[in-house]
Point group: C2
Chain length 131, copies 2
Amino acid sequence: MNIGQVAKVTSVPAKRIRYYEQIGLLKPAQRTDAGYRVYGDGDIHSLRFIRRARGLGFSMAQISKLLALWQDQCRSSAEVKAVAASHIKELKIKIGELQSMVDTLANLADQCDGDDRPDCPIIAELQGDKS
Amino acid sequence: MNIGQVAKVTSVPAKRIRYYEQIGLLKPAQRTDAGYRVYGDGDIHSLRFIRRARGLGFSMAQISKLLALWQDQCRSSAEVKAVAASHIKELKIKIGELQSMVDTLANLADQCDGDDRPDCPIIAELQGDKS
DNA sequence: CCTTGACCTTCCTATCATGGGAAGGTTTAT
DNA sequence: ATAAACCTTCCCATGATAGGAAGGTCAAGG
């Protein structure tokens, strides 16, 4: 299969497939005489694996680990779970940060009249007023 | 004040201050004969404003708008509120995405034994098994 | 057989908001 | 006078892509 066809069946754009190869996430694809990349079923499975992992927010570095564990028959599920746990932890931290922004902003926006006048608690907060 | 002193009092590193000037968020600072940037109180207020806005997760583009509104005596609070509302909306979407990742992952991790054996529902999910 | 269009290739650039560091000039303090 | 602590600009790096230019290749139709 050509890269374009693989892109279609995996929903991973050709550009991204080349990028994954470049950073070593995928092993270099075989080439035709003309230099075209050629892919087999294994590559397609790998790309789907990567796509799903990306969908769960894993970084490339984490996916690299997960791919290695996936291929490793001798893996322990504990190792996989550790990668996931670390990612969950990061996600929760991020969510907490974003949520606290939302809380503050919603609070301020709620107190804002949203009319034609210039007075605004949002601006006041950013300005540093100790209201 | 020199850039280093401003960095200290605003908690915004000199590097970042120069960057803000470069992208037009701050007006170009005055210079000494030797080319050193010189800042006044107004700049310090602006930098604190930017720092607080960044802390609430606003993008540079949004902060640019907010700065303009801040300076604009004729602003309507509705405009400010609109910027905030749009940001809140984006944040909530992001939080929703991250939370759904956490939910999926926590569920999978929960089902994972985390022992020495290779069997792992996390890997199975990424692999695409219809378990 | 030749052209056209749809592919493919590599390479360069941009994003966003920074951080790091090199090379070189200035100021301050001892 | 010299050393330390500043400052300047410039270039490169991040992560995970997207966009596009320049050029080679392949399949189909006239």
